[in-house]
């Protein structure tokens, strides 16, 4: 314990010295940062002079410039961009006609309806059929057809490409240890780097336009596929590989006939993750020119058409749910029971499909409504939703004024000021102490290194503002999310409902609720934090439910036999056993908070997120990437500490 006592004493000494005015400036603040007094009055934070102790931004700028101009990388990227555009044009043309691509005319919308319906039915049954057919209907009657088709074309290109790249990289990394070692940290950074920091290099190398949005989507979707491929291959039992070798497999045969099929579950989870990641990027990719539902949504938000935005948001969620359902159902169909049946039985669904689609094509010329949904038949409930938002704003705002005032003046501002007041060495010492406590010297050094980068890059104070918003939002998420999770986990039915809402909210584009939040709370940190909470509370609930529901039945049985009542069972069994899993949920909450706090810069914050948006607008590649790394490193530091702790805890509980 002596080490911690020393660290604590040092921190205290630093704080005391500062309050007594004895702290030398070089131990208090890093050179040339955002001045505290100016934070409140700093209107144009962009004017602030910022210099880096180490010019990471410039170094990156020159590196990228060198790659682009000298190494000719941009020739390659431009080529890729052009080919990809042609590919997307073809999908786009198949789905909605037009002059690009193959020059086909648009298929009747009923053809797609029939396909969705039969696909759903043949894979899973009526429920999935209704869901996927209903989603297609939704696009048509809510007047979103064109945009939904653009998004589908985007997905048709992005999803397979992401899967293939992910698979290939995963396989090679499995074979070559050095690549795996090099890849793991890159993947970690990639998965915590804010979306908007990605977009800048993508724009610089690939230009603007729809295809650039697709490329950003692919880059975002590949890392989970790589990770899961690698994990799946590593989990294949050595006996299986051995058996394959004994049967005389060549390397390729071993891979395709033995290892990949055995890693099936992880691979399918990877495919599923790719689809979800692609849909999560739909709106963000629209910032750099991807068209479709995301672009439509951004534009509607821009003219404050909240009701219409909501309808588009629902369309995106539906698309995610359907694609998720279809891909899962396809994955679960394990064996071909129909292999021995006669042709017309074996292929009854494909046959039905062809017949129905042909019917749609043949009938469409005679019944225009089958060809294209006329505009006057489309419906919208936008006005109702707008009315609801208006009502809430009108009736709740006054009541919320006091709440808002209290939180900002008594909680948020002091918290922010406290973090900014702390001399930087004291923050470093505290973090290092935490690392030492949870994971030893390695953890202490690693987390310290992450923070030192932020200091050297010159973004210390902005990072502290980001950190304070994340800390506060996480705190609220835990206080609300875990009890809600516990309550939901107590019955099977409630647990299912809770998980359903978690899934739905996770794919719901967060931009939509940012605006009503602003209308209620105005532009300030509180609004940004509220938006973060809405999104980051999901894993807190989900992991709590899962943690408690997945406790081994023997343990539950033993508790019952020992005569526990519900409360005793919860306190003495369920919570202690579930806590490592719940902590992983807390970890995810923090990761979600870091990712959302950057998006919440859309509200108007003065943290790292604001500067990332600005860098995107300026196409300032070095600055954007450095800022992104600052966010990523903070997230990784937390991630490291929490997973260390949870692992240790699981070991102590004998759960591994």
């Amino acid at each position: 314990m002596k080490g911690y006592a020393w660290l604590g004493a040092l921190v205290l000494a630093l704080l005391l010295a500062k309050s007594a005015g004895l702290l030398p400036a070089f131990l208090d603040e890093l050179p040339l940062h955002l001045e505290k007094s100016s934070i409140d009055t700093l209107g144009d934070a962009g004017k602030e002079a910022y210099t880096e102790l180490v010019p990471f931004g410039l170094i990156l700028d020159h590196t990228f410039e060198f790659m682009r101009e000298e190494l000719g990388v941009s020739l390659v990227t431009r080529f890729v961009s052009k080919r990809l555009k042609e590919l997307i044009d073809i999908f786009d043309n198949i789905l909605r006609g037009g002059r690009k691509g193959l020059g086909l005319s648009a298929p009747p919308w009923t053809a797609l309806l029939v396909i969705a319906f039969i696909l759903g039915y043949s894979l899973k049954g009526w429920r999935l059929a209704l869901l996927s057919g209903g989603t297609v209907m939704y696009f048509a009657i809510f007047g979103l057809w064109k945009f939904a088709m653009e998004t589908l074309a985007l997905l048709a290109a992005a999803v397979p490409i992401s899967i293939i790249i992910g698979l290939l990289v995963g396989i090679v990394a499995y074979r070559k240890k050095w690549l795996e070692l090099a890849l793991l940290p890159i993947l970690s950074v990639a998965q915590t780097l804010p979306h908007f920091a990605y977009l800048i290099p993508v724009v610089v190398f690939f230009g603007i336009g729809h295809q650039t949005g697709v490329i950003a989507t692919i880059i975002f979707a590949v890392p989970p596929m790589v990770r899961l491929t690698l994990l799946g291959l590593q989990r294949v039992a050595p006996e299986i590989v051995e058996a394959g070798k004994m049967s005389g497999c060549t390397n390729l045969q071993l891979l395709f006939r033995v290892q990949l099929p055995s890693a099936r579950n992880e691979l399918l989870l990877g495919v599923n993750q790719v689809i979800m990641q692609c849909l999560a990027m739909v709106v963000i990719a629209a910032f750099i020119g991807a068209s479709g539902l995301g672009y439509r949504l951004l534009h509607k938000l821009q003219s404050l058409k909240l009701g219409q935005s909501l309808e588009i948001g629902v369309a995106i969620v539906l698309l995610a749910v359907v694609l998720d359902g279809l891909s899962r159902a396809w994955a679960e169909k394990k064996r071909d029971y129909a292999a021995d049946l006669p042709f017309h039985r074996r292929f009854r669904y494909p046959i039905l499909l062809v017949v129905m689609v042909a019917a749609a094509y043949l009938l469409a010329p005679y019944f225009p409504i089958l060809e294209k949904v006329p505009r006057d038949l489309t419906v919208t409930y936008a006005k109702t939703w707008d009315g609801l938002v208006d009502w809430i704003v009108l009736n709740w705002s006054d009541g919320l004024t006091n709440f808002r005032y209290f939180l900002i003046v008594n909680v948020l501002a002091p918290l922010r000021d406290a973090l900014l007041y702390m001399p930087y060495p004291s923050v470093l010492l505290l973090v290092a102490g935490l690392g030492l406590l949870l994971g030893g010297y390695y953890s202490a050094l690693l987390t310290l290194a992450f923070l030192v980068f932020i200091g050297l890059a010159g973004w210390w104070d902005r990072a502290m503002i980001t950190a304070y918003m994340v800390v506060f939002a996480t705190f609220i998420c835990i206080v609300i999310g875990i009890p809600v999770g516990i309550f939901s986990a107590l019955s099977e039915r409630r647990a299912k409902t809770a998980l359903f809402w978690c899934d739905t909210f996770q794919t719901f584009p967060s931009f939509i609720y940012i605006l009503p939040v602003i209308m209620l709370f105005q532009v300030n940190d509180l609004s940004a934090i509220m938006a973060v909470i809405v999104y980051a509370i999901i894993p807190a609930v989900r992991y709590t439910v899962e943690g408690i529901r997945s406790i081994a039945p023997e343990l539950e049985e033993a508790a019952t036999m020992a005569g526990c009542n519900t409360r005793q069972r919860l306190v003495h069994l369920q919570l202690p056993v579930a806590i490592p899993h719940i902590m992983l949920g807390v970890n995810q909450t923090i990761m979600f908070a870091f990712s959302m706090v950057i998006i919440a810069a859309f509200v108007g914050t003065i943290d790292l997120g604001q500067q990332i948006f600005k860098a995107l607008s300026e196409t300032n590649i070095g600055k954007g990437v450095v800022l992104g790394l600052c966010v990523s490193f903070m997230a990784l530091a937390v991630d490291h500490l929490v997973t260390r702790w949870a692992r240790e805890r699981r070991r102590l509980l004998g759960l591994d």
Binding site: D40, T41, L42, G43, D44, A45, G46, K47, G98, R99, G103, S105, V203, G207, I208, G209, H210, A286, F287, I288, G289, A290, S291, Y295, L298, H299, L301, Q302, S303, L304, V393, L394, S397, R404, Y405, I408, V409, I514, L515, P516, I518, M519, L520, Q522, V523, N524, A600, A601, F602, V603, G604, I606, G609, Q610, F613, K614, L616, S617, E618, T619
Partner: protein, 319 residues
């Protein structure tokens, strides 16, 4: 004139039938002219109007959505071909930077006059009767205060990347602070919420904009802009500071083009230099979408139908 419109109808028909060109004699190249669209309605409708006009002379057109600042770099390197709304107040810096680097052409100025300035919706005059005078606003400062503003009035400004100078508040000695929203949508959310509750608000806005029709409103009248105001501290009310004036009241609205456009699509470039929208046109285009809720391309088609006498000289005037 009549002859020409027949020709227009014919080529529109061809476009509608999906018979697009390999290189057509009129346009010069079958490569698509890439027209960037941003996130405000008038610009998108105007882009579609110009795109549909280009199609009338046989060009291939493609639309792509881009950031409104990043677009100048895109035009400069040819990723986008033209930019139809270069607002002096917000984009002059980016536009001039691109001009200096080379690769972008100034394709002339619209008649439309733009203004970007501190603004309030009409009902705020009831709260603070002296408006739009800036001194009256300064006297009403605490009316605009918020919990986190320390008793000072709050001016809701656009995103930081729009590069507005906060020095004005200080130079004019106003008891205000400036907060920056993260995106234009946040501005409208602030405005809508304030208007619903009849609460005072002063924010950044521009004209022509959809808010003109929905909320009414006026710009704050600051001391008139003068070049010297930016550079010469002794100029203006505050003898010790620059920036003691408002933004230019009659800002330009320019068109820009990629430097290769006159070579690759000579006819389209010629038309572009003649294209000239008035404030009224811009307002109508925005209204079609924001008030009448039309789609952008439909609004563009309607504008073209209703304004043939305006655009046909742009396309078909003798050389």
């Amino acid at each position: 004139m009549k002859l020409f419109s027949k020709r227009a109808v014919a080529s529109a028909l061809f476009a509608g039938l999906g018979i697009s060109g390999t290189a057509t004699a009129d346009c010069g190249s079958s490569d698509p002219i890439v027209i960037p669209t941003h996130n405000w309605s008038s610009q998108i409708v105007m882009s579609h109007v110009v795109g549909q006009l280009f199609e009338k002379i046989g060009c291939n057109v493609e639309y792509t959505s881009t950031d409104s600042q990043a677009v100048y770099e895109a035009v400069r390197i040819g990723d986008a071909t033209i930019e139809l709304e270069v607002w002096e107040g917000s984009f002059a810096t980016s536009f001039n930077t691109a001009l200096d680097k080379g690769g972008i052409l100034d394709a002339g100025t619209h008649d439309a006059v733009t203004r970007e300035e501190w603004w309030y919706p009409t009902y705020v005059e009831e709260h603070c009767p002296g408006l739009p005078d800036w001194e009256a606003l300064a006297a009403c400062a605490e009316m605009f205060a918020r919990p986190d503003s320390g008793g000072k009035g709050v001016y809701v400004d656009g995103p930081v990347e729009w590069l507005h100078d906060p020095a004005r508040i200080e130079a004019l000695g106003m008891n205000f602070i400036q907060i920056n929203v993260g995106g234009a949508a946040a501005l409208w959310a602030e405005l809508e919420a304030a208007a619903k509750q009849n609460k005072p608000i002063v924010m950044f806005n521009w004209s022509p904009n959809f808010t003109d029709a929905l909320y009414g409103g006026s710009f704050i009248e600051f001391p008139a802009f003068d070049e010297k105001c930016k550079t010469d501290a002794s100029w203006g009310i505050n003898p010790d500071a620059t920036n003691d004036c408002g933004s230019p009241a009659g800002g330009y609205l320019k068109k820009a083009a990629w430097y290769m456009m006159p070579v690759t699509w000579p006819a389209a470039y010629k038309a572009l230099t003649r294209i000239n929208f008035t404030t009224n046109h811009v307002g109508t285009m925005a209204m079609f979408v924001d008030v009448e809720e039309m789609e952008h391309d439909e609004a563009a088609t309607r504008w073209i139908e209703e304004n043939e006498d305006v655009w046909s000289p742009w396309l078909y005037a003798s050389q």
